[in-house]
Symmetry: C3
Subunit: 568 residues, 3 copies
Amino acid sequence: MENDKGSPEAPIRSPGSDQIVGFDDGVMKQSGSSFQMMVPNGNDVGSPIDIPSHQTTQSVSISIPQSPLDAKRVFFKDKDSPARNLNFGCEIDETGPEKTPDRLTTPVKNPRMDAMKDNRYNSFKTWSGQLERQLSVLRGKSLPRNDPEINPPQNIQGESLSADRYFDALQGPELETLRPSEEIMLPEDKKWPFLLRYPISSFGICLGVSSQAILWKSASTAWTHFIHISLRVNYILWCISILLFVVVASTYLLKVIFYFEAVRREYYHPIRVNFFFAPWIALLFLAIGIPQDLHAHLPHWLWYVLMTPILCLELKIYGQWMSGGQRRLSKVANPSNHLAVVGNFVGALLGASMGLKEGPIFFFAVGLAHYTVLFVTLYQRLPTNETLPKELHPVFFLFVAAPSVASMAWAKINGSFDYGSRLAYFIALFLYFSLVVRVNFFRGFKFSLAWWAYTFPMTGAAIATIRYSIEVPNIVTKGLSLTLAIAATVTVTGLLITTIVHAFVLRDLFPNDIGIAISGQKPKAQRKWYRRNTCGSAKDIEHQVNSGEKVVQVPVISSGLGVAVRVV
Amino acid sequence: MENDKGSPEAPIRSPGSDQIVGFDDGVMKQSGSSFQMMVPNGNDVGSPIDIPSHQTTQSVSISIPQSPLDAKRVFFKDKDSPARNLNFGCEIDETGPEKTPDRLTTPVKNPRMDAMKDNRYNSFKTWSGQLERQLSVLRGKSLPRNDPEINPPQNIQGESLSADRYFDALQGPELETLRPSEEIMLPEDKKWPFLLRYPISSFGICLGVSSQAILWKSASTAWTHFIHISLRVNYILWCISILLFVVVASTYLLKVIFYFEAVRREYYHPIRVNFFFAPWIALLFLAIGIPQDLHAHLPHWLWYVLMTPILCLELKIYGQWMSGGQRRLSKVANPSNHLAVVGNFVGALLGASMGLKEGPIFFFAVGLAHYTVLFVTLYQRLPTNETLPKELHPVFFLFVAAPSVASMAWAKINGSFDYGSRLAYFIALFLYFSLVVRVNFFRGFKFSLAWWAYTFPMTGAAIATIRYSIEVPNIVTKGLSLTLAIAATVTVTGLLITTIVHAFVLRDLFPNDIGIAISGQKPKAQRKWYRRNTCGSAKDIEHQVNSGEKVVQVPVISSGLGVAVRVV
Amino acid sequence: MENDKGSPEAPIRSPGSDQIVGFDDGVMKQSGSSFQMMVPNGNDVGSPIDIPSHQTTQSVSISIPQSPLDAKRVFFKDKDSPARNLNFGCEIDETGPEKTPDRLTTPVKNPRMDAMKDNRYNSFKTWSGQLERQLSVLRGKSLPRNDPEINPPQNIQGESLSADRYFDALQGPELETLRPSEEIMLPEDKKWPFLLRYPISSFGICLGVSSQAILWKSASTAWTHFIHISLRVNYILWCISILLFVVVASTYLLKVIFYFEAVRREYYHPIRVNFFFAPWIALLFLAIGIPQDLHAHLPHWLWYVLMTPILCLELKIYGQWMSGGQRRLSKVANPSNHLAVVGNFVGALLGASMGLKEGPIFFFAVGLAHYTVLFVTLYQRLPTNETLPKELHPVFFLFVAAPSVASMAWAKINGSFDYGSRLAYFIALFLYFSLVVRVNFFRGFKFSLAWWAYTFPMTGAAIATIRYSIEVPNIVTKGLSLTLAIAATVTVTGLLITTIVHAFVLRDLFPNDIGIAISGQKPKAQRKWYRRNTCGSAKDIEHQVNSGEKVVQVPVISSGLGVAVRVV
């Protein structure tokens, strides 16, 4: 694989890389590698046909060093990321040019290719874009031939990324940012098709707005002798919520139809999966917030219809927590998991409001058990919970959601705002306080659509406070309910403005959704070290081991003996 | 033991072994070691009397290399596993024959020795078999002289294996399989005496059958207007249960009498210890399932008698969880711990049925506190919980047991199936669903007696559902109760058939109980690395560290000096 | 600082130190270091004025080796502990004199300097002692000039030690003992000023005594028909408690005034911070235990005044647990955290006794949520909980405190000792039993003032049992309440005697408070290894790695080259 041109002085390890001294035998085992010869001067002698094609086959370039002295620095780097479109690999002598020239890694831009035809996105399309092509045929358009170049070999269908891959490749509290060492499967330098950039977290907007509709519905009935809030506010907000939901949902439906593989990758994303609860919770919110003059009684079947997908998702997600593969709770615990729990309480609240009895208690019980597990786990902050943000973040407001809604749900189930409801409400209130006093939680965080989901708990707390102020009517509770209601509305309004600015002014509301485009495999050098690693702190050690390692190159004068020892 | 064929090319380190090149000073410090000289040609000059005797004394063979050059590569390997029957040690150059010849490690079979006289089992016998010998004397048999060969020096009495030893040496969800690198103290190639193979988990059968008696007792009273179930079913099942319990218990009692050391090792087994709750829970089941026409009122003292051992065991086991030596919960957490908790609820149920008040609440409280701890811990799946099976396994059904029984117990205590009972019941129901939808949980698992203990939760859930269907009588609840009852009965029947097949056809119902026969110490090379290790992930690192280690053999040209450095 | 006596045999690595051979580049980057040249003959050319002064500037001595051959073995040792009073650093050849002569490291004793003037303590004083100097001026005393030597540059103000520092530098269940490798900032060989040695845990005495006042108040009202206990006992104990609190609190107030930096360091101490709840809990105890003839009704504002600091502390401490920096719960979990939770229940009990409703439920809810988290976490004994004592320790009695008080608080809130109260009470009782049966928990532990805080739970359990025996009056409960009351009183009496002996006979009640005097940075060699480490087990590995390391000194014959490689 590599020609050591007989240089006897070749050092056995190059500084700065992680691989162990010696020929990485992994390289030799790679079947189907296309070897591409390069002279150090950079003349790419690879076949030009490679450029537009998508190769999963690994290509390893071997540079023939010009002088025997250079040979000392030859080492192998095996990059088996299938996402790269070109021949790459084996950069020889990285001490030379710092980076492989981009013309080698980025495809030659074909001006005729527009984004929809750019077959780099094909792997994320439903049936690799065949559906789209059929639709094109129906519209009478001519179809490019289904040649190998267009149907990329590295079809990701059927391949489900492991949770570890997401944790390894991404960072940030929402696992949305690529780690420096990673590569993505889609072009980084241009905007992807809209649907590919449209995340499931968009349903957060529906959560935020429809919970406001509930808030002002509650306020208008509760504060009759205090402040007069017209029922019209609820009506308008509810109509906006309905409209918003239709728009958001139908757009996402298009994504499901055209980019099913991207949806599947969102579903496997350890954080993003929790947002799959958002559409159903938003529907529950719409049902709870329905204006009084619109409904006499919501039909019972509606509740069952809405709760079925939530139950199915829960059986899936909670089962993953417990049954313990890679998605076990000690690994994926993140405040966004609250989204997976709060649906139980919202459902219980709606069901109890409708007059159901056993169903709401069922979901309340399931929610209680799993909220306890989640609450303890998140409070502990296990060392394995890598994704938990170091500092406070709007996501922490999700802590407030479940107990707020639980207190109202229990009050509905039980018929009165009793001790159980109060316990839940006061826990929510304390957590709210606990977050509010940490004033620096908005600092240094990039706005993202997911924030919408993080604000509905504020509204939930405000609604619960209104409910509590009905039970304990005095100046403090009324003042508190007013304050929280205003805070929630101001936050939602602020977020709305931010969203509009991002959508129409900065035009970056939907940036490239890096989280779904990570490559299936890690760059080789790191995989060697991190492969079976689960414990966060353990990773820290390794990090130290790596960073602390030193190549002690002992200068040998008399005997010609070179001992290269990696001291850890 | 192994022949260094004088080959000068013998590498100084054999692949796959972990020890450091050089003289392991631990070897020299071993007091009482008998050094046995070997010439490299492999003539074992050890005394032939060694062969049948059991030596705990460590024997280290030193090979005298043939050339002074070889001397540099001599290294020691200290295997202090007391189970080996022969002199061994110091394998030089393991790259020779792949495996140590069996004739050296297995004793020469003495056809006169039968299993009961085979003094290799003596160390597991009560007082090292002295009780048995005394009984033999009573029966007038001649007794072999109590010479050193028969009374093995490596008496394991008083030696309590650490929990770490069990985790290190065993694997599998029930810690019943030996890891490849480990050795056991008893002969692997033949069947041990029956009592040694008879595990405490046999009481699981009693749990399974006696819970069926309760199920059909409940069904016969609940379904009077639905399906007529004769009380005779309960009666028959209860009688079978009693009979079964007597058989199982008296057999185990024999084990306690004759193989107390084996019982003690079961008690120290981190998973098996939970099964020590099984006899008492089975007795509680028998008391609950007693046919109506047999008892007017069970006497109160019976409850106190039954709960005393449970309380004592709990004080011991829960104390171990909390007080944090090696058996701390983050280490030993396993679904089988539910057995240690469910007794509280079963006891509370029986006590409340008897009309007691404070005692049942006491056990209910204790159970609730520890169930919460256990539920959260198991749901989190801490990285330290090594023994938790990766995939689903019947053991997970134990999750369902505690909340099922708790709901009934609370209903009895409280006098009505109120919200508390429903919360517990619905949690059980959800967990049941959650397990049922994962259909692949029976795949690839070897049947074991412990499965019986894993099925009584199904029966418990069925009974709780019957209780619930009395409270909420409609077609859904009645159908559900019928379904669950049938599922439980079918499962128990299936297990019964499997057990009978294993017992009488395959004759492997009681395989050698590897779990109790592990040696007290790890093979030396590994112990050095794993000794104080508790964190599973940390172990992973070490594993990588180990596997990543390489012997850098520096080619020395001028000085003729070979420096072998283990670089980690 | 130390003389290399020119011995050519100096090994390149001193035993017991961890640093890697070679030039530690960290040394050279230290800005502000004063380089002090030494000739190998040991003439210290450092200015004598250095000796009494406190220098934060790091001084690195470089020895000029006598022969070029020696140059290979020169290495640096960077000791950046700011506590040392003298120039030091770069000890070359530590195999010379075993210990650096004391005359160099300890200041020349100035008999005129008394402890209050000893400016080594200045850094712990409020505004570095400026307050004190101002007070001196007010008293008309002459003031030493504020020259650099007196105002030490290593002012620790504003520097908040990380939690990791405390864990790294200290050991023991209360993190009060210095690890062998660490250094402290204050002189170890003499007694510090009293206020510096006076810890916040002194409030534990108030907890112990004032809870006794409550106990005998309860007993005198409960046991009227059983044993007659005069109300005078309560009266006397309460007065003692008040007096004690005034003394303890005013003394600590002096510490706050004069040694605010020491208080701040106690506040950052991961274990000690929990004792900051003690003063307020003691005040609550005083309010609860107030003799009946003294108060008609305590005013409501008193409750709000007392609960405000508790709420503020909780917002801070619980927020640290959750928001996850270094003080996250999985890291700092320790039974002493119960002190941070029990205040909620004590406050709820007092508030409910006063007739308040919502406030007590609020604190009860907050306490319940966080007690659940804490209970589960402590029971699990995560591998990251380094500070949890391996064996049982009086601190474990804090487990009993929260459920005991919670049961009484709930009974007050609810108006009756119902199921909720009983569940809490029985949990407390079981935990109490569980601790009592482990009889060896007093063995091998050094008495400390903190023990007082560990005994009030016994009193709490006794009071709860008295409350329970009112509810369920029979011989068992009355006997139990009497037994527990006696046990608590005997323990408190015994502790009182021990304390008096330590205070007046042994005169070591307040030893030097090592915990607050740790240096801000680890000795360099270790910091490299432990820096970002959080997982306890990971630390274990490192420990092994460290202890397993060997210096392989390759004897080089032909070339005369000594290669020292630290093989890990």
